[in-house]
Amino acid sequence: MGKIAILKFPGTNCDEDVYYVVKNVFSLDAEIVWHKSFKSVKGWDAVIIPGGFSYGDWLRAGAIAARTPAIESLVEARDLNIPVLGICNGFQILVEASLLPGALLPNENGKFVCRWVRTVVERPKGPWLSMAREGEVLDMPVAHAEGRYYVDEKTFYSTLMKSPLIRYVDGENPNGSLYNIAGVATEDGVILGLMPHPERASESILSPRGFKAGGRVIFESLRQSIKRGW
């Protein structure tokens, strides 16, 4: 017990980075789990779907992984209150699986965008953001080609504005996301998905000048939440 599953699909490439950060920076117990070996969320303290290019981004980023038994089994996480985090391609998988609302479209500029951005947390709540403050600015890098978040106006106001939300600071939206959205969560914050990479922003030595290691709060929140609840 007390373990975090880091799911790996063919094409996932951020699993080792997430594992390193969770294990060595935050001293949490973790395991990289091949998707075919992942049968159930039961017995895990949390599940992280790392970034990469699962199934080569074919059809749409995340669309094929979303239909695997591993991801289909995550529906249970909602009922069992097991924290799920999707980073980048992991976020794309969660929206394709309808575990989070909206969709992620090709970037507005048609290109792969890789750079540090500033994001702001709204209504922090749940295991991934319990230690974040309202309005806290989190600096993290993005690296994606399909990160333009789309959601209809009704869902935005009725659901997302009542849930934890991570938005790009005005003027730093790297992909044309509606409402500057960088990450969304379920209302209780148990399932969170975001395009920026918190695992690449967890050590100050890896942060470029002028940026802080904004990803730390996500893993610190998880460590506290696993111990003491949220």
Binding site: A66, R67, A103, E108, G176
Partner: protein, 86 residues
């Protein structure tokens, strides 16, 4: 008796969902080269399925069903057109 039918699936962004690729082709190529009569361009994804079915309608039904169930398109942002080739 089944026959083989070719079924086309065309996936495009819904109205209201921006299509930057289409916009770029329109503005920076077509209009720039003087084809002012072209009002807009929308891009999409094309799939051609070869299906054994009892009839053309049956083939379309199978493809429509799998498009929904396997989420070949994303209903949040896409429209699809399913039609027989021929």
């Amino acid at each position: 008796m089944t026959s083989t039918y070719l079924v086309e699936v065309i996936i495009t962004n819904k109205k209201g969902v921006r299509d930057p690729e289409g916009e770029t082709i329109h503005k920076h190529l077509i209009l720039r080269k003087g084809y002012a009569s072209v009002q807009s361009v929308r891009t999409g994804k094309y799939l051609l399925l070869s299906v054994n079915a009892l009839s053309g309608e049956d083939a379309i039904r199978i493809v429509k069903e799998l498009c929904e169930k396997l989420r070949i398109y994303n209903p949040v942002v896409h429209d699809i057109e399913v039609r027989l080739r021929g």
